[in-house]
């Protein structure tokens, strides 16, 4: 079957940069919130920047949560959540105290201010990854590669074994996970120069 990557459009953040990155790699991508198209896509990207509660409100009012649930949990097509998209895959967020899509057992929490840490929040800029396990998404990615981060909240997994990346900012936090067909990245591969391109290439190969 011909690959068609759906980039889920729910009015949050910058979707064109994801599309562009996928197109450069020679794949077809469509920015959409049309249920009939979401049904046909072979892979999905859930991008997003912004407020968690507003994002859930938008997904709800578009009426696309049931189809997304089906694609994630029944059809089990590969889905990549980026930044806020990663967070939305979890059970709950402190940002607005609302439930997420609950595909992944985890909570989204604000960066904690701990004693002796005076790191600025948001975590904004380039940082490296510790690579855990053997996710196909991380093929050819090394701990030297820098990725672009911009976030004030991060994911706390119930089962840390599904973490594929950790990053240190104030303290180590989960910056990537994989549970079967579901992938989440806290950083922006679409904004991370060549290293980000490798991640999309890996995603397209899944």
């Amino acid at each position: 079957m011909r690959e068609l990557i759906g980039i889920i459009d729910y009015g949050m953040g910058n979707l064109n940069s994801v599309k562009r990155k996928i197109n450069i790699l020679g794949a077809e991508a469509i920015i959409t919130n049309d249920i009939s198209i979401l049904k046909k896509t072979t892979k999905l990207v859930l991008p997003g920047v912004g407020n968690f509660k507003k994002a859930m409100d938008n997904l709800n009012s578009l009426g696309i949560i049931p189809i997304l649930n089906q694609r994630a949990n029944i059809d089990k097509i590969p889905i990549l959540g980026i930044c806020l998209g990663m967070q939305l895959m979890c059970n709950f967020s402190e940002e607005g105290n609302v439930d997420g899509l609950s595909w992944i057992n985890g909570r989204v929490v604000r960066f904690k201010k701990e004693k002796g840490n005076n790191e600025k929040i948001p975590h904004m800029g380039w940082n490296t990854l510790e690579i855990e396990g053997e996710s196909p998404l991380m093929k050819d990615i090394t701990e030297e590669n820098e990725m672009y981060f911009v976030h004030s909240y991060h994911v706390e997994l119930q089962d840390e074994k599904i973490a594929i990346n950790k990053t240190n900012y104030a303290y180590p936090f989960v910056s990537g996970f994989q549970k079967e067909n579901l992938f989440g990245l806290q950083y922006h591969p679409e904004k991370s120069h060549d290293a980000g391109g490798i991640i999309f290439k890996n995603f397209l190969k899944l």
Partner: protein, 254 residues
């Protein structure tokens, strides 16, 4: 390991790239899309685009133009100039900007920051503060390209912006702008020590040691510069440039 961002700040006038000295004497540099292509090749961390006439002309930086920039830009970028409402922010983000920079509106209606943050999240909303000494040697906030001043002190304004939820403060020294004689270190120290959000230092960078100094001594989270990345040297011959990976590594590993 976390590393501070080094950000070329590009000024736009009629969609052309220009560079000022102390907010005056704007020199034509070239086509911003060409500059973007070069910054892609040089793997710049992030870019800032400011439409410097927009606010005075009571219009917003053009989303169509931002879309053109986004089609060429491989790295995150923020845009500013004349933004006054959430609808415009929505359009600029949809056009491909990562963040928006609010200037005059932040000065005149600080509550708008709260509204914007509620809609787009704090990491999408940056505030630009333009600071210089007034006739009595007192540091004041300015807007509309340095033409109009505000009554609030820079430190109180920075606190207010943090309280309203701004995700980043771009702190620009008007007196240092384009001089290439170094940042206003004291100003950067003062503001970055007093807020918990990232502060981007801007104005005065002349070489990489200035970037190093404002990060380690000034406490800046990121370093912005115009002339440094646009001119070959202090002789101001146009040559788009950016530090190499090695230069960055040797200057900014904690």
């Amino acid at each position: 390991m976390f590393r501070p961002r080094i950000i070329p700040v590009l000024l736009l006038q009629n969609n052309a790239l220009v560079k000022s000295i102390k907010f005056k004497n704007h020199q034509y540099i070239g086509d911003p899309l060409n500059a973007v292509k070069i910054f892609n090749d040089l793997k710049a961390d992030e870019l800032v685009f400011l439409d410097i006439d927009a606010s005075r002309e009571k219009r917003c930086i053009s989303p169509d133009f931002v879309k053109k920039l986004a089609e060429e830009t491989n790295m995150p970028f923020s845009v500013g100039g004349g933004i006054t409402n959430c609808n415009q922010i929505q359009q600029l983000i949809a056009a491909g900007a990562e963040k928006v920079i609010l200037g005059e509106i932040a000065s005149k209606n600080p509550d708008f920051i709260e509204e914007a943050v509620g809609n787009f999240g704090s990491s999408t909303i940056a505030v630009c503060m333009d600071v210089k000494n007034n006739f009595f040697g007192k540091q004041k906030m300015y807007y509309q390209n340095g033409q109009k001043s505000l009554d609030i002190s820079p430190i109180d304004f920075a606190h207010l912006m943090e309280q309203k939820g701004a995700g980043e403060i771009i702190l620009q020294s008007i007196e240092q702008d384009g001089t290439m004689e170094g940042y206003n270190l004291e100003l950067v120290q003062l503001i970055s020590q007093s807020v918990s959000v990232p502060v981007v230092a801007l104005g005065g960078a002349g070489d990489i040691s200035d970037l190093n100094e404002v990060y380690y001594k000034g406490g800046a989270s990121a370093m912005g510069a115009g002339s440094l990345f646009i001119y070959q040297s202090k002789m101001r011959g146009v040559l788009i440039n950016y530090p190499t990976k090695e230069e960055i590594k040797s200057n900014f590993t904690k």
